[in-house]
């Protein structure tokens, strides 16, 4: 197994349960991949990476139940703050932004129509896929969105949904991603949607518990650079010998591995880019905004923090506002020095929430430049990429099988997709190599 994220550890667990002799090689000094815990106060953990789930995420809920992990609801009670018109900050009850509702409805109507056109199991086989795969979401928006409020909102929505700038993704990928995650309404919603709850104590615990149960079979600090096959098996890093290998890393990292024989086509396309997300955790002594009737939710047209959400640990100990820096802002923000990042995030929080004191700590997690992830939430497929890579998404390369959230057409980019891909890859190994 190459990679000890949710996909790799799910596949390794399933194979070990089937009696296979499994070794997991992980490049980092920790397991978890794009899930990662951050202890912001003694015993109080937040998710520096993947965090949210909803009731349709059945594979993840099954896994959490098996591991004895609980979920907590994402609190959204209270008023929201919006900075969508220059420097002015406006307050509204609930989450609805101070923008023309009809213009947003028109945007959602158009996105919904696109989403419904996509073949969810094989986006590359969608009728008219070639045309949808030629255009970027940015070009689509310029041609289809006339109202300034729709143009303001669209990049914010895309950033929040898929950590992409509109110029980074093809229309096909945008439509597929929204469809794969359950459709516009489900993917956007907190209550009754994909952000309904979080894992109590942090999502990273799932990987830690899986690794614990694979006692001794997960090797850390072991990046994989070569996978060489012969007639009888596979040699990984010139040392580990196996009947089969599952590569459970994002496509940009899989393409950095020296495969012999070589792959028939790269795992990523020419325009594939890292998901653009930087997560900022602003830590306060307690969720003080709640005392002011605020939910902690904010949306800003000007970055760096495009949105903020209350991610305070359920058990208390700290109040945490999580700021999301996505799309083009993520590149600009990630390029700043550490003190400049903190200053920019803190200044924006002070404008949005003038009643709050200075945070007692600021944590910045830059996934764009994370060497062993190359982006978060998931790889962004640009024009041409789905048609080039889609048909081989899950097709094994002799003894090499594929896992990772980018290989799941169901809940692509989410923890749920990673786990489903791990189950599929394990079955693929078991079918191909009867023990």
């Amino acid at each position: 197994m190459v990679g000890a994220g949710l996909a790799g550890l799910t596949a390794a667990t399933r194979l070990a349960e089937a009696g296979a002799d499994v070794t997991v090689l992980e490049a980092r000094g920790r397991v978890g991949g794009r899930t990662h815990g951050l202890e912001v106060a003694p015993g109080a953990w937040v998710d520096a990476g993947a965090a949210y789930l909803g009731e349709r995420h059945t594979a993840l809920l099954d896994l959490l139940a098996r591991l004895g992990l609980k979920t907590v609801p994402t609190g959204m009670d209270g008023a929201s703050r919006f900075a969508l018109h220059g420097d002015a900050v406006e307050q509204r009850d609930g989450r609805f932004p101070p923008l023309a509702a009809v213009a947003l409805g028109d945007l959602f109507d158009r996105l919904d129509a696109l989403t419904r056109r996509v073949d969810p199991a094989a986006p590359w086989a969608t009728e008219g896929a070639a045309a949808l795969d030629t255009l970027t979401a940015d070009a689509w928006a310029r041609a289809n969105l006339a109202h300034p409020d729709a143009r303001t909102f669209f990049p914010l929505f895309l950033g929040e949904m898929m950590a992409a700038a509109p110029e980074d993704v093809s229309v096909l990928h945008m439509a597929f991603y929204l469809r794969s995650g359950g459709g516009l309404r489900y993917l956007n919603a907190f209550a009754g949607g994909a952000q309904e709850s979080r894992v109590d104590g942090g999502a990273h615990q799932a990987c830690e518990l899986l690794a614990e149960r694979l006692a001794g079979r997960v090797l850390l600090g072991r990046p994989v650079t070569s996978v060489h096959q012969d007639a009888h098996g596979v040699t990984v890093e010139g040392h580990f010998r196996a009947d089969a290998v599952v590569v459970a890393v994002p496509p940009l990292l899989a393409d950095a591995i020296d495969f012999r024989p070589g792959l028939p086509a790269p795992r990523s396309g020419r325009a594939t880019a890292p998901g653009c997300a930087v997560k900022v955790h602003l830590v306060y002594p307690a969720p003080l905004w709640r005392e002011q009737g605020l939910s902690g939710w904010s949306v800003s047209a000007q970055g760096p923090l495009t949105s903020t959400v209350d991610d305070s640990p359920a058990g208390g100990g700290a109040g945490v506002l999580t700021g999301f820096v996505t799309g083009a802002d993520a590149h600009r923000f990630a390029a700043l020095g550490e003190s400049e990042r903190r200053a920019a995030a803190t200044a924006q929080a002070a404008r949005l929430f003038p009643g709050l004191p200075e945070p007692i700590a600021v944590h910045v997690t830059d996934w764009v430049h994370e060497r062993w992830s190359r982006g978060c939430y998931a790889a962004l497929l640009g024009p041409g990429d789905w048609l080039a890579t889609g048909p081989r998404l899950t097709e094994r390369h002799h003894r090499v099988h594929w896992a990772g959230t980018e290989t799941s057409t169901e809940f692509f980019g989410l923890m749920e997709g990673a786990i489903r891909s791990g189950h599929r890859a394990a079955l693929s190994v078991l079918e191909g190599h009867d023990a």
């Binding site: 609805f96 023309a100 009809v102 959602f108 109507d109 516009l184 956007n188 009754g192």
Partner: protein
């Protein structure tokens, strides 16, 4: 717009087989994202441009119809 026209729009947006005239959109499974799609459909059907706050205050087809008819009757285009 008539109550019948609005119940059809509600049902389509909520993907529900039918909606009663006094059914609250949000209680029937609607949220703010879907609410905007009712408002864009009302606009396309010639019912005028409503705000999200208008809709929250008039969440049933019957109440929304009364609001829209009142606006059409008012020379200033605002509800009496």
């Amino acid at each position: 717009m008539t109550i019948d026209e609005l119940t059809l729009i509600y049902a389509e947006v909520l993907e529900a087989p039918g909606i009663a005239p006094d059914e609250d959109f949000f209680a029937a499974g609607g949220d703010s994202l879907l609410a905007t799609r009712v408002l864009s459909a009302v606009y396309r059907a010639g019912g005028g441009e409503l705000t999200f706050e208008d809709f929250v205050a008039h969440p049933t087809p019957a109440a929304l119809s009364t609001l829209l008819i009142g606006r059409q009757a008012s020379p200033l285009g605002v509800a009496p």
